[in-house]
Symmetry: C2
């Protein structure tokens, strides 16, 4: 089964890892949010692409979910000695990724090509695609003013209430041919359990993405990143609340209304089956929390089976 | 005593360290070769500036003379995993220097300003100056063709016979105001024991440098990098031979003829006193090999005393 998955950071990376373990190597394509990308010390950092890439390469730091396991922080310490701020915790091995990415982008390669080259270097056979090659930047409206995503997320520790979201540059973004092809050719499209506002939101906001999805007859299912009224990781719950969404699986399902025809919720949210079905979605109730590798593969298999079921209706 | 010293890499860094330990903090200015500078993975690396800076910051790796002590190589290993060549051994802490330098240069700062900022970050109070702000590249003519300096030096291990030297970009180089001021204000000018062809050669080749030196009435002395017919470190001896110079202290003295009025040789070369004196130079015979900190400081003191002696003649 050819699968295209949409992913943000840690939660998306986990399910992508499970899908990779379940599918034939060439059957998975992961389309990743790039609106968190930013430049630091002249280096282009793509946090979500890297989190997914490291997870697929079995290099991810299991404690944090981001960064590379057993990495050192020699460069960061020295950068701090030189008087620069060190709130973005880039490890030494991780830096290699940003150095080469920046170098290759400056040489004129598209981010899509650069990402393919890096993933290939790490032996990743899953196709990893940025949502677009253009720069898009998530800016968050807060009482402290308009904040860069990483300023909000990493530097200020997600303490600001998010009152609005702007995707700067999204109007100039174009769906890369590789993404069009992957979605058009997919037999299942999966929205990973990532933040619907700042992770999957930007992917869905690339001009033409809704039309591209509508043009596909493949089953499209989303896995809820909200379980028991809370985000599994990150600030999605607080963000949904302050932006006026319901902080529940149903709240997320509403945001994907018209885009997906299946929705996966955790057992603790089984009572939401009714409200989600009312949106015209089929619902799979399962254990949707991925604590370890086994969970990831099991959830991936269940999600794929759910897709197959939708296909035959 | 206000001192301006010309330095290349390891040998120059050693004497610069000795001078720094001997002089008042604001009395030393080291002018460093930048014709070995190169770009790798989009980062600007200035090997001689960094070797001197790390030595003056007491961060130098004592085993190699270059790089930072106790550095790790996580980034380099990863860069190699990504399929790039890893012959230039950049450590993780060292990378921080190149990342910030590149970032600041791209932001429009002059190399002189960038260098001052980095040295300040490391607590170095000696003034560290690049020979110029423009790019100059030493290219070596060999039977394998024209080689970049680092291609010859680090990648191919100095195995090629050097048949000629080109300093690309030297015609466009300008003596920075900071260098002019340091030389004009110096009460002693010291040519450190660095390679006369590829380390001090480029500094002396910056247009106007000979005139600037001629305009100074300060004693000018050179310390021989050749002891007992061999280079203390690096390929200076092979290079002198293949370029038709005599491989001896006298051979080096001849290259500085008209530029310096004092020359320092090691005891093993005491018989060359006659031939060097014949060039119109005063000669100091001493232990010119710097094995450790004590040697560096002793040689620095002797060199300064030699300068004072020349001053009073």
């Amino acid at each position: 089964m050819k699968v295209a998955a949409f992913a943000g950071g840690v939660g998306g990376a986990k399910l992508a890892g499970g899908l990779q373990a379940t599918l034939a190597p060439t059957d998975l394509c992961v389309v990743v949010n790039t609106a968190d990308d930013f430049d630091i010390w002249g280096l282009r950092v793509c946090p979500d692409l890297d989190t997914v890439m490291y997870a697929l390469a079995a290099l991810a730091n299991p404690e944090t979910g981001w960064g590379i396991k057993d990495d050192s922080f020699g460069a960061l310490g020295m950068i701090s000695t030189y008087g620069e701020e060190d709130w973005f915790r880039l490890g030494d091995k991780d830096l290699a990724t940003h150095i080469l990415r920046t170098h290759r982008l400056r040489a004129g390669m598209r981010l899509t090509e650069v990402t393919a080259g890096l993933a290939d270097g790490l032996g990743v056979r899953t196709t990893l695609l940025p949502m677009c090659d253009e720069r898009v930047s998530t800016m968050l409206k807060t009482r402290a003013g308009l904040l860069d995503f990483q300023e909000y997320f990493a530097r200020r520790g997600q303490k600001d209430e998010v009152l609005g979201v702007e995707l700067c540059g999204i109007d100039n973004a174009r769906i890369p041919a590789e993404v069009s092809k992957a979605i058009a050719g997919a037999e299942a499209i999966i929205f990973c359990p990532s933040n619907p506002v700042v992770s999957l939101g930007p992917i869905l906001a690339v001009p033409g993405m809704h039309e591209l999805l509508a043009g596909s007859s493949a089953p499209k299912i989303a896995v809820s990143p909200i379980v028991g009224g809370r985000a599994l990781k990150g600030p999605a719950d607080k963000m949904l609340r302050s932006l006026g969404h319901e902080v529940s699986a149903t709240g997320v399902a509403r945001m994907y209304s018209g885009l997906v025809n299946g929705f996966v919720v955790d057992q603790v949210d089984r009572e939401e089956q009714v409200s989600i079905s009312a949106l015209g979605m089929h619902v799979l109730v399962t254990d949707a929390v991925m604590r370890n590798e086994t969970d990831r593969e099991r959830l991936a298999r269940e999600v794929l089976r759910f897709c197959s079921g939708l296909e035959t209706r």
